[in-house]
Amino acid sequence: MGERHARTTKAATQGVSGELGLLPALGLETRKLRHKHLLLVAIGMLAMQLLWLAYVVLVHPSDGFTDYRILLFQIPLLNAVFLPLLSCVVSSTECDVETRGNMFKSLLTMQRAGALFWIKWLFSAGLMAAVVTLQTVVLTILAGAGGLDAIPAGELVVYWVSTFAVCVFCTSLAQALSLLTRSQFAPMVVGVALSFFGLFSMYFPESVTRLVPSAYFALLSTVEVSVQGKTVMYLSHPWPWGYLVALLAATAAVSVLAAHAFKRKEL
């Protein structure tokens, strides 16, 4: 059986306490999700969104219409439906692999609870960053394919930051619920509820809309629509970054409180 108490700690990947470094820990989370097809689910949801947009832009183009803002107006509506659900699926799946296999008692003899919490948080955030990036790239391709003006880089950056911020709030909320209630039912219900209310809150006054996290996809948009008779015009307005600050503060509060509760939780 080889030498007893073998301890060939890899200095490159592990710290003094023996805990994994950031990249190996993220790699480990990826391996835990092997056979879970999470990427496929994400790509499937993205494909549905983009098919809808392609229908709007490519199948029913208006003559001489080249305003790229049609895309930036449509996509937050679709995001409000799809991305909260996808964020909750990603986060709850990431936590469910531990809960379902009763792994926490074993893992927390090898990893600090805080480290495990933040690695999972980073993993979910990273996956959503990849989804939003892919979505942004496809948006630019769609604009080109539909004969629209190219989306300015600044607008793309604003879109990316806004969308990613809302996704991270959703993943943080889902992770908090998954780890603290140990039930995957709660985050999934929240995901569905966020999708539902995110869409319908847009028909409510802004004071109500501000209370619904998933409505921030639209609240953070820089494009609005003006309908005058049969004429539909897309207008730009300054980025309402105050909403972003509020959302980031809420995300930080949810995450830090959940991490603290998870660290103190006895198994």
Partner: protein, 307 residues
């Protein structure tokens, strides 16, 4: 607690855990010598799992202290100490959607061990058959999952193993297999094994030392041999005339057609038989009896019910 630390694998002093007004572990002093199988015995709800979780830092003690492998456990050094401890608490943890090897790969990476460790432990717990290795753990029987849990605990051949009810839910052959494996570990790797169970026979068959916990308190601790010696001894005597024999042997108690007399040495036993024979009483049977382990346990824990 640290005076003979090199000889002691686990020591606790006044370890206590309370939830509100309820104290589930109370002033527990536990001493586990190195290189033994230590049976941690107690009825369900006695505080065995809570004690083991406190040793691992998964539950925070209300009071008291614990040292593991000679090192006092603190929140700061907990993970460093636990790198030398293999654990299986309550039920085996696993990723059911992964294979046994993929599961162990995760433990290996977290512990920073060489890849060869996986093959070693799979061989020890007999999960190295190629057909088994292709299976997802979700399709394993409970016995196979327990063996995988033990394999994960054995990764790196830690000097200390904490196994909480490792035979729970197993069929008789599975129990036999796990028991044999646990008994082999001190010889194979010099491992100290702390194994908890509510089954007296389990502990009797695999442990060298035993700690008996009841209602959160350690009621007895020592070697199995001294536990057996702790029980009462007596002679059971059946004669051709028990009534007359009882008169002749002052202090004999009649019990179910037998006479019970105090256990004596061989010379005194010879005198008794000769004395009875002189009075014309034939001795049909004379046996040395001792309290069963179950009786000792029930006596120590004050429990009437069978475990």
């Amino acid at each position: 607690m640290a005076s003979n630390a090199s000889e002691i694998a686990v020591a606790t002093r006044c370890l206590t855990k309370s939830y509100g007004d309820e104290t589930v572990v109370s002033n527990l002093d536990m001493t586990v010598p190195r290189g033994v199988v230590y049976g941690f015995l107690g009825p369900n709800g006695a505080g065995k799992s809570t004690t083991m979780k406190m040793l691992l830092g998964l539950v925070h003690p209300t009071d008291g202290q614990a040292s593991v492998l000679g090192v006092p456990m603190t929140p700061e050094n907990r993970l460093t100490v636990l790198r030398s401890v293999g654990t299986l608490i309550e039920s085996p943890g696993c990723y059911p959607h992964l294979t046994a090897r993929e599961n162990l790969e995760i433990t290996r990476e977290l512990r920073g061990l060489p890849v060869s460790e996986i093959d070693d432990v799979l061989h020890v717990v007999r999960l190295d058959d190629p057909s088994v290795q292709r299976k997802k753990v979700g399709h394993f029987s409970l016995g196979m999952k327990q063996r995988l849990g033990i394999a994960a605990a054995l990764m790196g051949k830690p000097p200390l193993l904490l196994l909480d009810e490792p035979t729970n839910g197993l069929d008789p052959s599975g129990i036999h297999e796990i028991r044999a494996l646990i008994k082999r570990l001190p010889q194979m790797f010099g491992t100290t094994v702390v194994v908890s169970s509510h089954l007296l026979s389990e502990i009797d068959q695999m442990a060298d030392h035993v700690g008996i916990i009841n209602k959160g308190r350690m009621v007895w601790q020592g070697s199995m041999a001294s536990l057996h010696a702790h029980g009462k001894h007596w002679f059971a005597l059946r004669t051709t005339d028990n009534a007359l024999a009882a008169q002749a042997l002052g202090g004999a108690v009649t019990d179910d057609g037998e006479l019970r007399i105090k256990a004596v040495d061989d010379a005194a036993a010879g005198q008794i038989t000769l004395g009875l024979a002189r009075q014309g009483i034939g001795i049909v049977r004379l046996e040395s009896r001792e309290e069963s382990l179950e009786d000792i346990f029930l006596h120590l824990t004050g429990m009437e019910a069978t475990l």
